[in-house]
Amino acid sequence: MAVTLPPGLPREALRKDAARNGLTRSRAAGRILRTATAAALAVWFVLPLVPLGLWVFADRWSYPAPLPQHWGLENVDSALSRGAATGFAGSLALGLAVSALATPLGVLAARSLAFHPSRWSALFSALLFAPLALPAFVTVFGLNVLLVRLQVPSSAGVVLVLTAYALPYTTYVMRLAFGAHDLGFEEEACTLGATRGQVFLRVQLPLIAPALARAAFLAFLVGWSDYLVTVLIGGGSLVTVPLLVASAAAGTGNDGIVAVLSLIALAPPLALLLFAGMTGRRRPGARP
């Protein structure tokens, strides 16, 4: 807002006065504090990745040397020979499968809870969130017996159990989104001539897309990062990156290989997160 100052009162004098009486001091201090906190958090997140990055290219790095003595790609070769590519493909397939199943199921559950509340809603919510409350180890052991008796293929069993574990996350995220969703948009589209399918594709889907992406991302993470269910129910039939990381970390002298596998495990979620962050910043409605 433009402010017209009285004649003879320069803007600089006003600013000095404000600084002297403390009107602007707290705001500046707050800004410095915020910047410092953000920088500390960035360091906190990035710092553990630095030794990992160094280990990837360290053919030899002995204590107490601050940096690797020999640089090279031996660790990468070793990781690949231990099945890093297969593990990557397995994790990717598992993450995508869990995401593909848990996201639409979460949408349906959330929509039902948001728009069709009943006296059973609380019970359904409790059942949906039960997998998070129960100890995974106990549940997975119990389910393993059941799946074996039902002769469910182990890979399918892994996907099914992880989908159940991802469902609370997707339901929660979508429930929040539907809570803020205005059904008036759908009614408006309807009176403008849109069929149910068109309302879903052209109105509902774009409006819930950011939440849908978040839900899908969380479900993907559940599948991508799982170890326990893959080991116990998969029984070795499914090789994923977390299994390889655990296997390599159990041995000695595998620091470099563990670093390569860990970075492989980090890359897809990080890339997805960055992608979601960048697309989420687009100005609404400004698309030509």
Binding site: L192, L207, G285
Partner: protein, 364 residues
């Protein structure tokens, strides 16, 4: 052939509601007409509009458009565009694509749909804003775009659900002008609901007064003000002067004397309440001919003055005066023009009188 919109005996109840939202509601709209359904909050106006649009399923009754019963026609096939109180512009589309929405879902190529949308934006004086994000528009601009979007769907009936009630008075006047302009240009059939008498009178040529889901009167704007069919209608339309008496031979006899009623209407003989709107009573200085009265109270209403006068033991409210400086206690003369008089059956039952507002003879 266009026969207009006919609503027949529409009834709708909601679970837990104390009374039906609509009760045997019937209404006819001629092609090209603009009808405003006027009523207080909770009277069933929006339910009527939503039922006509197909967004609510009535318990009984039917909606006919050009003779076709719409009972089995889905909302998207009814050819009725609705503009709500909130503009509900799709936030993921820009202004132009919002207006082009109906054409795009009909399968019209994007380029042609956008060109068409441009012409509707021009109609609502929003040309040049097509590429803007809808979130960057003001409330009035958003409502203009919403109207353009509704019109671009080329509806058989344009349904307006209190579309201007969230706007400030100046903007509302501008939107009333805009609606008149749109009607001149496209002559659409418009069914609008509002709780604002002035707005209804400004934009519509027919008014339908609704209370507790029941149609009280459907008539021209002027008739609604000057020939209310009941005390309830008179009161809902802002009438505050009610004089009990009797009609004999087209003349109303009361404490105010004998007053001939307009000859263009058959007045039923017997007990009747004489009605005259405050703005139609002429207040003159004491030396003029007329009914002697004393000013008991004066209140300013912006540029107007609202006077309470006492004449022959009857309290009346009046707005106009030729007196230069009226003051409480002054003696004045009242003239009640015959053309401004109407009479209705006396006070209705207690249950209907409880609904009426404002309170008679004591303006808020």
């Amino acid at each position: 052939m266009r026969q207009g919109l006919v609503v027949q005996g529409l009834s709708k109840s909601f679970k837990g509601a104390p009374h039906p939202a609509l009760e045997e509601f019937s209404l006819s709209l001629a092609p090209g007409s603009c009808t405003a359904v006027l009523g207080p909050s909770g009277s069933g106006k929006s339910t009527l509009l939503r039922t006509v649009a197909g967004l609510e399923i009535p318990d009984r009754g039917s909606v006919l458009l050009d003779g076709q019963d719409l009972a089995t026609v889905r909302p998207e096939r009814r050819g009725m565009a609705m503009v709500f109180q909130r503009p509900l512009l799709f936030p993921h589309l820009n202004v132009l694509d919002n207006v082009a929405f109906a054409a795009r879902i009909r399968g019209v190529p994007r380029r042609r749909a956008r060109a068409d949308a441009e012409s509707f934006l021009e109609l609502v004086q929003m040309q040049g804003t097509g590429r803007r994000a809808v979130t960057g528009l003001s409330g009035g601009q958003q409502q203009r775009v919403a109207i353009a979007r509704g019109l671009a769907a080329r509806p058989a009936v344009l349904l307006l659900d209190e579309p201007f009630s969230a706007l400030d008075p100046e903007l509302r006047s501008a939107m009333h002008e805009l609606l008149s302009h749109v009607r001149e240009q496209l002559n659409p059939m418009v069914l609008m609901v509002t709780h604002d008498r002035d707005e209804a009178s400004a934009v519509a040529d027919q008014l339908a007064l609704i209370s507790e889901g029941t149609l009280l009167q459907h008539s021209s704007v002027e008739a609604m003000y000057t020939r209310p069919v009941s005390l309830q209608v008179s009161r809902l339309m802002g009438g505050t002067n009610e004089v009990p008496g009797t009609i004999r031979g087209g003349v109303h006899y009361s404490a105010l004397g004998a007053h001939a009623l307009p000859a263009d209407h058959p007045w039923a003989e017997g007990p009747a309440t004489l009605l005259i709107r405050p703005e139609r009573i002429i207040v003159l200085e004491d030396h003029n001919p007329g009914l002697p009265a004393v000013i008991t109270r004066i209140r300013a209403r912006g540029p107007r003055r609202l006077m309470t006068v006492e004449a022959a033991g009857v309290t009346l409210n009046a707005e106009e005066t030729t007196c230069p400086h009226p003051a409480p206690g002054d003696t004045v003369r009242l003239q009640l023009p015959t053309s401004a008089l109407a009479a209705v059956a006396p006070q209705p039952t207690a249950e209907t009188s409880a609904l009426i507002s404002p309170t008679p003879k004591v303006p808020a």
